[in-house]
Amino acid sequence: MQEEKKASKNPVWSFFSSVRLTLFLLLLIALAAIVGTVIPQQDAAGEAVQKLPPALAGVLKVLQLNDLYRSPWFLLLMALLTVNLVVCSLNRLPASLRLYRRKPDPDRPGLYEDLPPGQVLAAEGTVEDEAARMEQVLIKALGSVERKGTDQAIWLSGHKGAWSYFGVYVIHTGVLVIILGAVIGSILGFDGYVNIPEGGSADRIELRGGKGVMELGFDVKCDDFDVEFYDSGMPKLYRSDLSFLKGGEIRAKGVLMVNHPLEFEGIRFYQSTYGSVPGEVVLKITKKGEQVVKRARQGERFAIDEGRAQVEILRIEGNLMRMGPAVKVGIAAGDKALSFWVFKFIDAIEEQNPGIMKQIPQFNAALYRPYSFELDGIETSFYTGLKVTRDPGVPVVGAGAFLLVAGFLLTFFSSHRQVFVRLDRKHGATRVCIAGRCNRDPVKLDREIERIIGSYKGLTG
C-alpha cells in the first residue's frame, strides 16, 4: 500500500504522519543506541571519563553520552517516535475503516478477464440453480455471501478476514503500550540495592544512581545465606532465607534464589550478589601462662586486666602487607593509649625478618605488658546482596508485548481474501467464472479458490 499523497493542511500534522520521519527516527535511535554501547554508561563511566582529555570529557558531559538512555535528547527521540506513531495511525485509520466496510462489487469491469482456465467452469443447471449451489459453497468457505443479479447474469461475492486491516494498528498500539509501561515504571517505580549480613536485617535501601536512601517501611532479615559450588568451581546455587518483619513481628518468610524473586508489600527482592565480611576476631590473650580467649567484631571493645584496660578492635585485614591475616588492636588504660598489630603467622614472620619486633614496635603483640596477644583467626560472615525494585509498569509492558505478538499474527498470518463469482449463459451452458483478490498472501487465496471449486464440483455431482 502506498502512502497517501493527499496533502494535509496542517504542516505539523503532515510532518508527524510521514513514514519518512519514522525511518529517520528508527535509524537515529538505533545509531544512538550503538553509541551507548561503545561509551561506558553510568557507574562504569566515572573512571573512564577521568582518563579523557578535558575537552572530550566536556562534550560527553554536555550531551550526557554516558547516561545516554536517560538523556533528554534520547527521550526526545522516543517521544517523537511516539507522536509519529499516534499521528500516523490516526491519519490512516479512516482509510482502513473504509477498506474494512467497503462492499465488494462483483460486477466490476475487468475482474473476470485473464482468469486461469481452471477458474472458468461450465455447468449443466440454470444460472439460478448453479448460483444457489455456489452460494452454499461460499457461505461454508467464507462465512458470508452477497448476491447481485440480472436476468442474464448473477454475481456472487464473499470475503473473509477483513479485520486483518487492523493488525497493523494492533502492532502499533502494542509498541505504544510498551512505551507507556516504561514511562509508568520510570515515574512510579524505583530500583535499589541493599546488603544484609547473615543474621542481620535492613529497613532501608540505597537507590540506584546515587538518588539517596529509601525507607522500606518494614524490616528484611537475612536468616541464612548459602552458596554452593559444583566440583568445577562454578557456582551452583545462591540462596537467602529472608523474613519480613513489621513492628518486630514476622509477617512473611521465604527462600530467595536467582530466578526466584520474593515479593512483600508490592516490593520485589532479587538475589543479586553476595560477599563476605570479616566477622568475629578470635584473640588469645596470655598473662604469665594464664590464657583467655576473647571474641569481638571490628569496633567492639572488651575489658582485660580486671577492667583496668579497654581493648578495641580497630582494623581487620585479611592479608596485611602480604604477611597474612592481622588485626589492629587499640588499648586504653587510664590516660595511656597504644595500638599494635596482631599477626596470625607471627612465628613465620619473625623467622623471615629477624628483629622485626624491635624495628617496628607496632608489630609487637606484647606491647601492653605483661599481656601478650595472639591472633587465633578471623571468622568470615556472609552478606547477601539484594536488588530491590518496584515497577508498576511491568503489567502494562506485558500487555503491550501481548498486543505486539497478536498484531503480528493478525498482520502476517491473516489476509483479506475476497472471492467473486459470475454466472451467465455461454454456448448453451451456464458459465461460472471465479476470481479472487487479497491484500497479502496470494498463495493462500489460490488454495481457498481451489477448495471452493472442489466443493462446488462435489455438489454438482
Binding site: T22, L23, I29, A33, M234, N259, K387, D391, V394, F408
Partner: protein
Amino acid sequence: MNTKMLGWATVIYLVAMAFYLIRLLRDDEYWGKLATGTALVGLALHTAGIAVRWWESYRLGIGHAPLANFYESMIFFSWAIMLLYLVTEWRIRNRFLGPFVTPVAFLSMAYASLSPDEATRIQPLIPALQSNWLTSHVVTCFMGYGAFTIAFGLGVLFFARRFVAGSGNPSKGRGGFFPDEGAIEDLIYHSTIMGFIFLSLGIITGSVWANFAWGSYWSWDPKETWSLITWLIYAALLHARLIRGWRGKRIAVMAIAGFVSVLFTYLGVNYLDSLHSYIM
C-alpha cells in the same frame, strides 16, 4: 559421542556446500538433488547430535537443553539456519540459495568445533541460567538469527546475480539462472518477517526472564541494546518496503546491514565489554 556426531554433521555440510556450488557452476540439477540429499542427512545427524547431547546431560544428572554456552549456541544457530534453509528450498522449489546459506551454517559449526575441550563438555548450569525461560529464549532468538541469515544470503545473492549478469535486470543469460530480482526481494521480505517475529519473541522472552533473574525487564545491557538495534533496522526495512516503496537494491542492502547487526548482537558484544576497559 554427541561431539563426534556434530563433527560429522559439519563435514557433511561441507560436502553439501560443495554440491550446491557444483550445481551452480555446472547448471545441472543432478548435483542439486545430491546437495539437498546431503544437506538433509547432515541435518538429521545434527538433530540427533543435539538430542543425544540433551540426553547425555540428563545421564550426567545435570539435565538441561543444550543451549547453555557459546559452543552449544553456535551448534543451534547452525541447526536453525539449515532447518529454515531446507524449508525455504522446499517451499520455493528452487536450490539457487544453497551456495549462499550453507557456508554460514558450515562456518558456524566449524568454528564451534574449534572450541577448547572444556567448552564442548556438557556443563551444569550456573544459577542465572537455571530458568524455564532459557530454552524458549534461546530457541526464538536463534530461529530469528537463522531467518535473518537466509535474508542475508538472499541479499548477497541479489548482488552476485547483478555481478554475473552485468548491470540491468536481464532475464536471460547466466543471470537468468537465478530467479529475477523481484522474486529475490520478495523472499528477502518474507524471511525478514519470519526473523522479525522470532526476534520480537526472543526479546520478549528475554525480558520476562530478565525480570525474574535481574529484577528488571530492560537494563540497556550491551546485548539487549544490540538486539534492539537489530530489531529497529529490520523494522525500518519493513516500513521502507511497504510504505515508502523501496525495492530491490535498497532492500538487499538493508538485509545485509541487518545481518551485520545480528552478528554483532551475537558475537561482537562479547568483545565490546572488554573494549570498555581497553579503550577508555
